[in-house]
Structure formats: structure tokens, C-alpha cells
């Protein structure tokens, strides 16, 4: 079932009193889970059953975007958007990144070529906005005995965009917050 993503008024992110964060990355990496950890609530999702590649763990995918929100201490709304991972929704990316203060790229350690994914998403983001602060979170490292962080670091060096890269558990609120701290530290 497709649910309505949000009220139109919440899209007014040019307003300095609204903080907008975007989560990007391939399908199945854990963006929706990370939004839940950041916002403490189930995100409003536009999830559809997977027609291909469904598994016991994942039988739906985000087809347009995920949305969650939290409120900062002074009442400022924090809007968190999850980009759809599929390339056919690439047209959504510039729209979602408009007005964002930063991007969290979430990669899946189980992917055969996680470094290629890293390069791809860094390239995608910088092509839209080269100055946007970025942090990389790598999930599911417990499920990949062969995972190595070094190729991801090499991809980051190749991109010329020296961003933090942390392995983390998207279900863990503290680890997801720590990823956000690295993003903020890099912005300071």
C-alpha cells in the first residue's frame, strides 16, 4: 500500500527554522531502519512489495521516498528523508537534496562491491551539490565475514571527498546518532 508521504507544508525546507537531512544509498542497506533510529518513530513510507530479489529479511522496498521527523530541543523540526535506492528514481535526488544540511550514505557490507557503491553514491551526491557534507555508514558487517573497510576508504580517497566512514547497526539509536555526530563534526 502506498501511503501519502507528507503534508505539503513540511516541504518548505528553505526556511532556516527547519533542518533537513537526507539518507541515500542502495536498496536494502537500511535507510528506512536508520530513519526510525533517528526519529524514534516509524517513518512514513512509500514501500511496495519487491517483484524481484525478495528475501526472508526484506520483501518490500521504498519506491519514492521515506519520511520521518523529530523535533530539536528548541522546537526546530528535523525532517529526515530516505532516497529510493533504485536508479529509475534518480530524478528524485536533486529534489530531495534541495535545502538539506547533510547526507548520510548508507551502504550494505553484504553487497559484493561495496566500494563501487560507495564511489557511485559519492559521485551522485557531488554531481548535484559538491559542497554538501556527507557521512558514510556501512551496515550488516556482522553478516559479511569477508567485509573489509579498506576498499571503502580507497573509494573515498579516489573521490577526493574525505568523508567519515563508520560501520554501524542501523537498528541501534546510539550508533546511528554517533554517525550523525561524525557528520556534524566534519561540518564544524
Amino acid at each position: 500500500m502506498i501511503r501519502p508521504p507528507m503534508e505539503p507544508a513540511t516541504m518548505q525546507t528553505q526556511d532556516a527554522a527547519v533542518a533537513k537531512l537526507v539518507l541515500a544509498g542502495p536498496m536494502g542497506a537500511g535507510k528506512t531502519t536508520a530513519i526510525r533510529s533517528i526519529t524514534d518513530a516509524a517513518p512514513v513510507s512509500t514501500e511496495m512489495p519487491l517483484s524481484e530479489g525478495a528475501s526472508d529479511d526484506k520483501d518490500t522496498t521504498t519506491v519514492a521516498l521515506d519520511f520521518g521527523h523529530a523535533v530539536l530541543e528548541d522546537g526546530t523540526p528535523l525532517l529526515v528523508y530516505g532516497m529510493p535506492g533504485q536508479e529509475r528514481f534518480a530524478f528524485m535526488r536533486p529534489i530531495l537534496l534541495e535545502g538539506a544540511f547533510g547526507v548520510v550514505i548508507i551502504l550494505n557490507a553484504v553487497d559484493e562491491d561495496v566500494s563501487a557503491q560507495c564511489e557511485h553514491w559519492l559521485r551522485e551526491i557531488t554531481a548535484i551539490d559538491a559542497d554538501l557534507p556527507v557521512v558514510i555508514g556501512i551496515t550488516h558487517t556482522d553478516r559479511s565475514a569477508s567485509f573489509s573497510i579498506e576498499p571503502v576508504r580507497a573509494a573515498i580517497r579516489n573521490s577526493g571527498m574525505p568523508v567519515p566512514a563508520f560501520t554501524f547497526d542501523a537498528r541501534d539509536k546510539q550508533q546511528t546518532f554517533h554517525l550523525m555526530r561524525a557528520l556534524l563534526m566534519d561540518m564544524q
Binding site: A16, A19, A70, L72, E73, D74, T76, L78, F101, D131, L132, P133, G137, I138, T141, D142, A145, S146, F147, S148, I149, E150, R153, I156, R157, G160, P162, V163, P164, A165, F166, T167, F168, D169, Q174, Q175, F177, H178, L179, M180, R181, A182, L184, M185, D186, M187, Q188
Partner: protein
Amino acid sequence: MNIELKYTALAHADERRVRLAANALAAHHLVVHASDWNGGHCDVLVTDSRDRQGALALERARLAQIPTLDVCARDNRNGETGASVVWLVRSLHRLLREQPIAAGAEQAAGGARRPGLVELVIRGDLAGQPVLARHGSISVGLLPRTGRVLSHTLGDALHARSHLGAPGWQFQALKDAAAQQAPGEILTSLDTFFMEGAWRARTQLPRFADGQYRLRDWPDLGSATELIEVLPIVRALLRERAGIADIARSSRRSEQEVSACLWALAASNILLGGKSGGEYLVQAPAPARRNHGMWSRLAIHFGLTRSG
């Protein structure tokens, strides 16, 4: 007196001259055995700091408190074309006269008495290698190429991490094939393992050698959620090549805390000494991106800073 002289990263001609100088030191009643350095203990190390490997060897030797001779030292007038035998004999004689030479047995015992993290860093033969680390009945595999720690149980990894500041560790380099069979199936982040261990042991660790340092990459501290204080130190090391006091000032942490981080980052093999170069430093974000008010609100929300 028997002296173990080691050399590394020397041009072929310099290596020959060092061997000749070592023999010539017999005139000063010094029996000097010269051979290639494997990263272990020795009485004196000769190297060339113009070479990147040589510069790293100098750093490691300084950490291990091994007397060193740099063939491109300022007082070597022949420095451009290499070290002369006469200069080498004079310099080595002066160096060996000034430095008390510890017996090999004492050196080995010193290794066992040092905190495990320190021993791991100063053992140049272990740098960047997969290592089997044992402390009492606990063993963990340290795999720097993948950035992971392997252990039988999470409890083993936690025990090992908690004792990194303690002596009594044994380290053994593993061949790549053996590394695949390092103990256990529990994988955790190597950078987090070292950083949490070093932070916990920061009052026990000696001060890291003075020098100019910087970081090659962001360490993987994703599960080090308690170590918020480390993030400003990491950022400072990514932004500038600096000494301990400068890093402490810019990150607003103590020199002891900076020193502990340097031990951890050196163990992770991502710390660069000031003399090697080439890699990028992190650039500060464009001014237009800075919105201090919003940043502060986000920092409070995510627990990076406190309100008020």
C-alpha cells in the same frame, strides 16, 4: 662490547658504507654486527629519512627508544651523495658512547613489561600485518587490512580491549592464510577496539613520541558511541599536520588524551608521521554551508554538545 646495528631504507652504496663503518668500529673496541632491520629491537638503527620507509622507521625507532642515525643528518656534509665511511664511524661512535646499550635479554623483558598497545605499535615487524594477540588465556586476531578484530566470543574481545594498557601481551604475525583462521567468528571494528582500549588506559600509556602527525583516513568509530571526546581529536588530525600540544589546543582535550588517541591510531596503521606526504587533508566546508545556530541545535540533539 657487542653491538647490534640495524639498517633500513638505505641506498645500496650507503648500506655498504654502513657495513664498512661497523667493521671499522672495532678500532674503538666495539664489536658491531650490522644487518637489515626487521622492526625488532636493536642497539642502533641507521636509515635515510628522505625515503618514506626510512622516515617511518625513524618514527618507530624513536617510539621504541632505539638510538638512530639518519644518513642525511645536517652535520653530514656529504649528505647529498650519501654518508661517508668516516662520518659514519664518527657518528656511530659518538652515538654509542652517549647511549647506554641495553642487553638483549633486558630488551626482551622490557617488551613483556610494556602495555600491550605500546608493544604492538613499536614492533615494526608487525606494522600492517595480521596479528594473533594473546593475553593470558584470551586470544584475538587483529586484522588491519580488513579493519576487523576476530575473537571467539564478544567477551574475549571486550577482555582484550580492557587490557590493552596492561603488560603481558604476546604478539605473533600471521601469514595471510593463517589470518583467515584467526580465532573465532565474532567480528568487531579494529579502530574502535584500539580507540576504546587506549582511551580506557590513557593514564597508563606513556606519552606518544613528539612529532608532527596527521590521519590518512577517518577511523571507523561507528560503535564507539561513548567516545564523543575523541571526535574533535580525529577532526584536528585530519585537518592539519600537528604536534601533540597543537592538537590538544585545537580539540580542547588534554595532551594525555591526544597521546592515547595517537597510540590507538598508530596501532590501526592509519596515522602518518609528518615527513611523509601526498595524501589530502580534509578541507573545512564552504562558508556558505555554515549555519552556526542550526549546527548547535543539531549538535545538542545528537549528543555532540550539551545545551546551555
